[in-house]
Amino acid sequence: MTSTALRSRAWKLLELVTTPLLPSDYLDLVSPLRAGADLRGRIEAVHPETPDAATIVIRPGRGWRGHVAGQYVRIGVDVDGVRLWRAYSVTSPTSRSDGRITITVKAIPDGKVSNHLVRRVKPGTVIQLDQACGEFVLPAAKPAKVLYLTAGSGITPAMGMLRDTRFADVVMVHSAPRPEDVIFRNDLHDLVADKALRLVELHTDTHGMLDVARLEELVPDWAERETWACGPAGLLDAAEAHWAEHGIAAKLHTERFRPTVVVAGDGGEVTFGKTGKTVAADGATPLLSVGEEAGVLMPSGCRMGICFGCVTPLKSGAVRDLRTGEITEAEDGVLVQTCVSAAAGPCELER
């Protein structure tokens, strides 16, 4: 018998001893980061970046498979006893030698998780982790000229890339309300001093919002550059329109932190079949939030309609895609993305 087979036999035997629990339920008590456990991480330090942003140093569990610069990671944090999942860009380089990763979080008004992470979380806290994901990454072949167009916390994935890969010619156009609000300001200026970056730093409180048309004057060769843009929806919408207008949409890569909601309908009663709960939902609230509020265990992912981590069978009724307004009706095997779908009349989800 091979050692793997032997080990699986021993594990089966162990399961007979621990039933109705699993051996891992006991191991988790002493070693939550071990290989083979659900992926978790331990917060080791919290470094303030600005008055309302901080970098969190996380030691990921043994199952962590690493990330590609620019990707984000989903973390599950218990805030006031309730597990909440959010996605944050990884801001540490892939080459970090101690195996730790960092995320950089900006506290947004009323943001439960962001405020908790920036202001209250204590080193030593164990959090839930997912493997890194996201398509907002550098291509295999290094582009000759790069532009990062960012604003606010949109700088975080760009910083992950900047720290990871050096380019011969890279420009960053970054907007923040005031100088003290610029996350990574010292790091950016160090890179400039090293001649590793040309930085255009805009302070919107004094200069107003960036008009994308001004790129012509700020970065005359912008159209030749492979561009990564991340920031508020307004900036990204304007950038996409601008690049499309010049027929170079393929050169622009964008990352959105939130889905754009275009259509909301009337809502209806949502039934969670497995849990046996029925709650009223409006037509604008994603079913994911509706379920979570009702205490139903909802799988979740990016919360913006990209990763499909939240898909759930729709057993009856209809739901509306909040991004397009499209209606999906229940049929055998129909799965819906609960993070971007709202009730369109009464409906039932298999949760």
Binding site: L13, L16, V17, T19, P20, L21, D25, Y26, L29, D78, D80, G81, V82, R83, L84, K274, T275, E292, G295, V296, L297
Partner: protein
């Protein structure tokens, strides 16, 4: 169904007002659930798992009497904690708000021969909805006992003290049987019902795993201590069964607790439902350790009013609930465990005989209380 209705002095309006006041107590707890509560249940789970593991470890050497004694005591406490403060309450959804898939009513399985899924149906849906309604609430006499004077006496009831004792010793099997509604389903026609067969199969599977763990694998791992470990796990299960049976009897059986007729709950309002829970449950008084070991079912009244609030909050809720009992001049039935167990058993014995023509002292006591 008692001769004198102890709630007769309340007007319909008062009952609805009482309901609103109870709703407010509930809302207050829900708004303040948080980190402390989450830390509490995680702590209990962690202590229980460590205690169980340690006790089972000690029992590997159960051939030595001190090891047997300590191991058996530890395993009994671990099993009680697991069923009462942890399993029962998690399966009620008391901790679902934490959104932790490892501590959730839809994923939890407990150290009990009745599969969580079936128990949740018979307990959460039937018992908690139809609390103390004769003919609807299986917990009331478990379908084998006479629990109220108004129920017709049958010679079979002579044996009910014995049935009750046997049920107490093998309580988890008794529960599995009535979660299956075995009495009703063993009729020839129903036995073939595929839905029943599937459920019976699930129970069989669960029993097999439980028995294999406690009576085969663990004794085998003990080597020369095989027999003593077997005796230890059997004893621990017996103690757990007797304990949980006693606690549960104290919840609805002691003198002073009301039972209800089927037709009395037709068209019941929220306020009336609350009132039935108040009159149909009894508490056990005692120390903090006592409350934890009963899974806070010592706060049975509060648990029945708010089955899905975290058990760690029942003690503070009890103060407010008790004040409402006083305000509305209702009897809050509560007493120390030995007294309540005695009271419940006395009722089992008394009702095993046909009603006496003259009123018993108990009936008079109720008249006075009313």
């Amino acid at each position: 169904m008692t001769a004198i209705d102890p709630t007769a002095h309340l007007t319909a309006e008062q009952i609805e007002e009482l309901g609103r006041e109870l709703d407010a107590i509930r809302d207050e707890v829900i708004a303040s659930r948080g980190e402390k509560d989450a830390a509490y249940i995680r702590k209990v789970i962690s202590v229980q798992r460590k205690l169980e593991l340690t006790s089972r470890g000690i029992l590997l050497f159960s051939i030595f009497p001190p090891a047997w004694l300590i191991g058996t005591a530890g395993l009994s406490v671990a099993k009680i904690l697991e069923n009462m403060e942890i399993g029962h309450n998690i399966l009620h959804g008391q901790w679902d708000w934490m959104r932790d898939p490892k501590i959730h009513s839809t994923t939890w399985e407990w150290d009990h021969v009745s599969p969580a899924e079936q128990w949740k149906h018979s307990h959460n849906e039937l018992h908690h909805t139809y609390t103390n309604v004769i003919g609807k609430d299986n917990d009331l006499g478990y379908g084998i006992m006479r629990v109220d004077e108004d129920q017709k006496w049958h010679p079979m009831h002579l044996g009910q003290p014995l049935w009750n004792f046997i049920n107490a010793c093998f309580f988890e099997y008794g529960i599995a049987a009535y979660d299956l509604e075995l009495g009703k389903n063993l009729h020839k026609r129903r036995r073939k019902n595929p839905e029943f067969r599937a459920r019976a199969k699930a129970v069989g599977r669960k029993i097999r795993r439980q028995v294999l763990k406690d009576y085969v694998i663990h004794p085998l791992l003990s080597g020369p201590s095989f027999l003593t470990t077997l005796a230890a796990t059997f004893t621990a299960n017996l103690i757990r069964n007797l304990w949980s049976h006693s606690v549960i009897m104290c919840g609805h059986f002691p003198e002073g607790v009301q039972v209800f007729e089927r037709r009395s709950i037709v068209g019941e309002t929220r306020g009336q439902w609350y009132l039935r829970q108040m009159m149909g449950s009894a508490n056990i008084s005692g120390s903090k350790a006592m409350h934890i070991m009963t899974g806070n079912l010592s706060h049975q009244i509060e648990h029945h009013l708010f089955p899905d609030l975290p058990s760690s909050r029942y003690a503070e809720v009890a103060v407010k609930v008790r004040a409402l009992f006083e305000k509305y001049e209702l009897e809050y039935v509560s007493g120390p465990l030995p007294k309540q167990v005695f009271s419940a058993w006395r009722k089992v014995f008394r009702l095993s005989l046909p009603n006496k023509k003259v009123k018993t002292p108990d009936r008079e006591r109720e008249l006075v209380a009313a």
